[in-house]
Symmetry: C2
Subunit: 303 residues, 2 copies
């Protein structure tokens, strides 16, 4: 089934203990779309400036991503500069230049509007609401957000949360939004607003799905080499929602498998800088890693 | 099979956001023994002062724990005072009074020395080595330690690590010992010293087993109420080693189940202060929680 994503496309400059890259392809919508493209047809809504290399759009097209909803506007593309130290869990933002992203208003092309799945990547929640108004009757709406919007746009964010089925947030942001330390108490408060499920992303500790139907815990894949964590969360979301869209149902059993697919795709994303590992990821590698997850967590009964 | 534990018995004064208790039963060997007693016969080696209430020894005896290796010495029992704030992951030590623990030299009673399983709880590694010299031919030796010994007794600790089969440490201590950030790289360096397996304890994020045979990730049980995290790690160790001793084999399949039993027992331990929840824990509650762990992490194949 078709899947629409709205979010940032960016040029990233990133330094980690293992190397440095300048003005490479980045952005939440980019990572999400490339991850989800392993599973289903993706349609992207975003904005880029005059300086955005056409080759990046070609890359997305080669992965079957529909980029007709990407607006090219006068001005510069959104740029993010960040650094990770040895604790690869935390990105330190050194510079943000919004460029054309500052005046972004998502326009969902007519041929996207019947999509059954929609993912609102981390952008201003008022823009997330604009997108929801343009979609006709999606089966599953999901959103990501961040501490900045919790602090500065709590009202619109709460409205957006109440209008989606699945919320994905970093675990610290779940606690921050609900203003309580216990993750499961915080999650229950967020679910009271309307969503059927919440995914708390925990970086190297994996991700937890909390819903009325049950709790499911997906570990992070044990990696000895993490070159660049940028885009891990959006790649997780892409694998997660992409898998759901490919199967076309949202039963708990399917959602559990989707969590593992999300973790698997994210584990590849961090093995190289930018989207490099995602773009060369082969289906059989992905399938093999999903099976390895089973070994990581499955214990046999004594019976 | 029989299981010997050596470690501290203490009187704890603990404050958490949910309450406060004064001079209650605590200590690593105590939590371990009560947790392991759910699975097998436990024999304890420890030291207590003249002021240690006899009722605490009676409690241990009622749980089938052999306390004939507990030395009562002139002086005061080891006391620990600590506080947890809303982040229940970190204990803040307010006061430590070693008392008779300062001059402790473990004496393993003759009828303990043929035990097949031995757990060296967190004590001075030179004492852990003294215990190993007194045991005849245990099938499985395991130890816990902490940052204090990594910093102050690295030599004896390294010797002790090289003489055991399983090392249990907090994940931060694994990184600290191996002086590298990546947990799996750090674990490999520690396994190079001799142990066949390392268990990295991650508090609310669960625990990870790393061995040449494979990696296994046990989540922490999702709890909305944690009253007091004191003893969680030792209860995990007690469930883990206790289960192994009860089955009597150390295959990877058994070790995986043992990790889940460790997590399950630990999840009960934190539901009340001191050892209160452990002592009233019924076998059927424990078995039910182990089955709930399966739901938490098991995903069905699409085939």
């Amino acid at each position: 089934m078709s899947l629409v994503v709205v979010g940032s496309m960016a040029l990233d400059t990133v330094k980690t203990p293992f190397g440095e890259v300048k003005e490479v392809l980045g952005g939440a919508a980019t990572f999400f779309a490339l991850a989800a493209s392993k599973y289903t047809k993706v349609q992207i809504v975003a904005v880029i400036g005059e300086d955005f290399p056409e080759q990046h759009l070609d890359l997305l097209r080669r992965h079957g991503v529909d980029v007709s909803g990407v607006q090219r506007r006068p001005g510069r593309t959104f740029r993010w500069t960040g650094e990770y130290t040895y604790d690869l869990n935390t990105a330190h933002t050194l510079d943000t230049q919004l460029g054309v992203f500052a005046d972004f208003h998502p326009e969902v092309p007519e041929h996207y509007r019947d999509a059954e799945f929609v993912f609102l990547a981390n952008i201003d929640p008022t823009l997330q609401l604009e997108v929801l108004r343009q979609m006709r009757s999606p089966r599953l709406r999901a959103l990501d957000s961040m501490n900045f919007w919790i602090e500065s746009k709590r009202g619109p964010l709460t409205e957006a949360i109440s209008q989606v089925d699945v919320v994905l947030l970093n675990e610290g942001e779940v606690r921050q939004y609900a203003d309580t330390y216990n993750l499961y108490v915080a999650a229950r408060r967020m679910l009271d607003l309307g969503p059927t499920a919440l995914v708390a992303k925990k970086g190297e500790h994996g991700a937890v799905l909390i819903s009325a139907a049950g709790v499911f815990i997906a570990p992070a894949f044990p990696l000895e080499t993490v070159l660049d964590p940028t885009g891990a969360g959006d790649s997780f979301a892409g694998g997660f929602i992409g898998y759901l869209a490919s199967v076309g149902d949202v039963s708990l059993a399917t959602i559990k498998r989707a969590m593992i697919h999300g973790s698997a795709v994210a584990s590849f994303a961090v093995e190289d800088f930018s989207v490099d590992r995602l773009t060369r990821l082969r289906p059989e590698e992905l399938q093999q890693r999903v099976e390895q997850f089973r070994e990581l967590t499955t214990f046999e009964s004594t019976e």
